[in-house]
């Protein structure tokens, strides 16, 4: 187990290095942040001064090593426009994004799995066909459009839910969360559903395919022959075997939910990390972009690791590499 963990950590570090080099060189090639940030009335001499102050006049490899040596001490640099540590800016906004992502994930599972099972058990029924049509819509309609339509219907026309922002928050261990207040929920529900829609469809399709496949297998027939109730067959035998591919996909999707909730965050003015990164890219705020991507890589690595561990819990046949040696 420990050698397995070690190799995973090394993998994550390699990914971090490669990613940071790519982003660094990429941003260097795109343009000079000073040309975007500087007031046009500044003189060329003032421009040069700022370029030097930010260290942008040095060769790119020198800038990179400076960044790495600082990063090793935990300092990812100050945002150019906020003049605050980039890491702080991101961590400040992380709870909002995590809350949104987990709420969306929960919706995807709670809505997606039952519907998927229903569609898998009686694939030819009218209900199943409606479920599948819904899932096609969920897949194919663009998130931003659905978001706007949801705002138009539920906020503008009906006036049931607020159109934007995060509701009242309560601190838990110093982390502000909004899912414990009614006002918080009223703000959370639309963006979370908007973000979840695609995942719901995905979960429905995966569950349905899994159920349909497993139902054909021999052990299900044996279980029936043994006289088990359909309910028990479903709960114990079918569901458990369907879960494995589902966990992989959901694990990866959770990462993308967190890292790329940006469209939903933009439409609903949700104060998460995604909005920060979009603003940062627009003005080439390199420290923020780098810090954000580093955190994303670390998060993906972590989630992958958790998924692998979960596997071995759900399916005892799966052994973590290196664990049994």
């Amino acid at each position: 187990m420990s050698s397995y963990l070690l190799s995973r950590i090394l993998q994550a570090i390699m990914t971090l290095i490669v990613m940071s080099v790519l982003v660094f060189v990429g941003l260097y090639m795109i343009g000079n942040p000073v040309d975007v940030l500087l007031s046009p009335s500044a003189t060329p001499a003032e421009r040069l001064e700022i370029i030097q102050a930010f260290g942008l006049d040095r060769p790119v490899w020198e800038q990179y090593f400076l960044f790495v040596s600082k990063a090793l001490t935990g300092d990812l640099g100050n945002s150019f426009v906020f003049n605050q540590p980039a890491l702080d800016l991101i961590l400040q906004r992380m709870p909002a994004t995590l809350e949104l992502a987990f709420a969306a994930l929960l919706m995807a599972l709670v809505i997606g799995i039952p519907l998927g099972i229903r569609a898998g058990l009686r694939p030819d029924g009218l209900v199943s066909k409606s479920i599948m049509t819904f899932s096609i819509l969920g897949f194919s309609l663009p998130t931003f459009w659905i978001g706007l339509i949801m705002i138009l219907i539920f906020s503008v026309q009906l006036g049931w839910l607020p159109a934007s922002g995060r509701g009242d928050t309560v601190d838990i261990f110093g982390v502000p969360v909004s899912f414990l207040t009614l006002n918080g929920w009223s703000h959370l529900i639309l963006p979370a559903f908007n973000l979840a829609l695609f995942k719901i469809s995905l979960v429905i399709r995966l569950t349905r395919a899994g159920v349909m496949e497993v139902m054909q297998l021999d052990f299900v027939r044996f279980a029936r022959a043994k006289g088990l109730t359909e309910h028990r067959i479903l709960r114990v035998h079918v569901l458990k075997n369907t879960l494995i591919p589902l966990i992989t996909v959901i694990g990866l999707e959770l990462g993308s939910l967190i890292a790329f909730a940006v469209v939903t965050e933009t439409i609903f003015a949700w104060p998460g990390m995604g909005k920060l990164i979009i603003d940062a890219i627009a003005v080439l705020d390199r420290p923020v972009i780098l810090a954000y991507l580093m955190i994303t890589v670390i998060m993906f690595s972590l989630i992958n690791l958790l998924v692998d561990i979960l596997y071995s819990v759900v399916d005892p046949r799966v052994r973590l590499e290196g664990a049994s040696r």
Partner: protein, 515 residues
Amino acid sequence: MKILATAALAMSVAVLPLTAVARDLTVGLAASTTSMDPQFYVVGPNSAMARNIFDGLVNQDARQQIEAALAESWERIDGTTWEFKLRPDVTFHDGSDFTAEDVIASIRRVPLAATNSPSSFNAYVKAITKVTAVDPLTVRISTDGPTPLLLNNLSRIAIMPSEHAETTTEDMNKGIGVIGTGPFSFLSWTPGESTVLTRNDAYWGEKAEWDKVTFRVFKNSNARVAAMLSGDVDLIESIPTADTRRLEGSDGLQVITTTGNRLMYLHMDQDRETSPYAKAPDGTNPLLKSEIRRALSLSLNREAIVDRIMDGQGTPAGQVVPEGYFGYDPALPVETYDPDKAKEMLAGAGYPEGFSLTFHASNDRYPNDSRIAQAIGQFFTRIGVNTSVETLPGSVYFTRASAQEFSLIMGGAAVETGEASGVLGPLLETYGDNAGQGNRGRYSSAEFDAALDQARKTLDDDEREAMLQKATGIAIADMGIIPLFFLDNTWAMKAGINYEGRSDGYTLPYYVTAE
């Protein structure tokens, strides 16, 4: 009027205590304030937020003209010394008195706040050589030469308590020392999300109407409009042109529009024999000839661009500042659309067959910028200039434009000083170490430079305005830039709320009134 309104409110409270109006205002902003330090970064959203909390010695009014603020009056003692009489009995939000020491400390703090700034306030104080207190309510400011724009520059410098002269930007971002004399005092700030202010009951002017103001940031314009339509906010700024009619047509909402101070213009490569994207049949750079530049200007139907693409939210421009601004020349008309004359001029300059041109513009920096660029490209093509249009994200575009990688580009310049030299200098002065930073076309005219330089040193307002008009006349006659139009500023708000709008686009709740 104010007393009446208060009385009416008091009555309504007395009669219907349950439906009493909460005097809170929620504002939807288009861009986030990046720092609570008013002296950190010269950028619109920061300056606008600072105006709510801080005052300058003087402030800019809704049309960017100078008005008295913390200085009640001022006079010039000689060519380089100014004396300011400070307003008595003004207190900061922390209760301390405002005196001459605070002015000295605030001006001195500017270089400190410039640390790590992507665009600092140093430029506004660099002419100042000495600030002294004559008595607690009199300040003398000396400059290194005649500085007619001293008041405009001072209007940009927020006055803070002298105890906070050493407070860093980092501390202010944490909320430490965000103390001014303005109509609202600071309550909280979450970057990119919201800022909350409360009324300063000890304000030296008339008190603000709102107990509490919450600013929320909606970068996405659809989200901003949706928040307005659903009633989440009371007022929003910069409405996308396509949504204006919809908001105007909605019950219980109103839209206001004012001419803004941002000039949209074209820069043409004017100092290279061959240019990367403008090529005559013989390979030379046709944009060097002023007749050609004039022909391009004549080919543009500015009215149509404003009407069709901007949904009317703009004012065609024939010079660098809008009407009513210092340095505006009433004798300079907006170019009349005349494609036939443009063709004649092209032929007269030796290009009857036109030439080939690639026109570059940003696609995410100004309202409808890529659509405006497409329209301009079509107007050029109509007079025989074979034009293709390429639009790029601003983050890529500005670096390449500064490096002179393009031949003809579109830009937008805000008249931040409220008078013509604020645009003439950066866009048209001969490029050098201390001038012409934004002159990406490298227009250069000794005559123009001399006129502008003289204007900058002339203290007499009438003479100075005449010099600015002269400089503008020279640049426009040479077609150093092609002015297109001024962007309008727009706001939408609930019925019952009024805002007169500002040419600088700032949303200042102090001037928002309720009926």
